[in-house]
Point group: C2
Chain length 256, copies 2
Amino acid sequence: MKVALLGPEGTYTHEAALKYFGEFEPVWCETITEVFESNTEAKFVPVENSLGGEVRDTVDMLRKRNETVTGEVTLKINHCLISETNLEQIKTVKSHPQALSQCKEIIDENGWSSEKTSSTAKAVENLGKGEAALASETAAKINGLNILKKAIQDRDINTTRFFALNTEIEEKEKTALILEPGSDQPGLLHSMLSCFADQGINLSHIQSRPTKRKLGEYYFYVEAEISNDTDEFSNALNCLEDYARVKVLGSYSAGR
Amino acid sequence: MKVALLGPEGTYTHEAALKYFGEFEPVWCETITEVFESNTEAKFVPVENSLGGEVRDTVDMLRKRNETVTGEVTLKINHCLISETNLEQIKTVKSHPQALSQCKEIIDENGWSSEKTSSTAKAVENLGKGEAALASETAAKINGLNILKKAIQDRDINTTRFFALNTEIEEKEKTALILEPGSDQPGLLHSMLSCFADQGINLSHIQSRPTKRKLGEYYFYVEAEISNDTDEFSNALNCLEDYARVKVLGSYSAGR
């Protein structure tokens, strides 16, 4: 199956897509917008990170375009130390600035100098003598290089959640939706959340985003722990439509 | 009065601070984190933009540090065309990539080439023959250059909201607070919003942010349209404390 996703080969998005799809034929894109605008039906995008929060481009494009969320997967970001050299001979480590800052302890302990690259995958491509890269296990495999150490990040809390779009649905455990209030009114969000609470539906995620029309005007991105096939969901939907235009983005199984 | 804020001189943050304080003695910082960590008591930070949404570093630092929100101001971002040359002689425009993309129409119509700089203020500093900068009115004044055209952006919806911290309070119209739920429970956000709704308090802003402890764990940043001196606010606070640790960030007058 062809899948559009953020490249280049060997990034953590690539690693997450391998975890979700197993084998697939990648169509590499340079930006999240490009993934959404790709002619390839199946798409794969990051939606949330445990350190940064929601991926704004993804949420905004889910609102704008008509793609169906059909699957979810989470990936723990494990930076590997990748090189052809021995550990003792490393002088310089290369990686994306974010990865370098997440592995500060091991870099400082060993007195390595660091060099910034545009992506973690890029760091692996041109390693010179005495150089190592911080990147994914997948990047090491693709480039036929050794992994000297795994999971070298300072803190173990860097997890990213991804969505598969327009693929086969396995199970319907969660539903993503966009709520677009027509006009602001006191207690609006509370009223909308009552629609879910009255049906005993729990929300696993809620995010307000600017409509880009004027300051202080928002739409809401919500994930509910329920299938869109249920009576409870239909009831909640009826209730919500009194307050907002509702766009149901799709139901999917919760990522493990 | 000394005020710590994002530099360099002539940025839109500078323009907003001039609007809020009138005269002040600027202490320039390079990042929002640096502003928060500055020894200068009075601070001035962007909190929300109509296109990008909340300024994550500011919200996270409000949670982390103990600063008091005391004032608010909004600024419409008006890009000016700044040069020593006549309009007819312009060949190249320089600015921050975001400003260049926001002024795409005028650039394309005139067939100008464009050159990226690290900030809008930086673009004004070294203008050669046939070059113009896209930047704030303040940047033009500081550098003694002409403004050839004002408000040249494609769409008029780019507004940023700023907070003053630890300054004199003018009036208490709004209150900012952080809600940090101890453990997740179904309908938690709905219950917390009920605390406000039951007291007839309207919220002008709500944002969920990752706690950076694990994926799917959030804290909430809220702005309520009420003073923290009122009985209604005290009642809401009592109610909220059943569900979350509450940090009141301060009350301030609504920005015009």
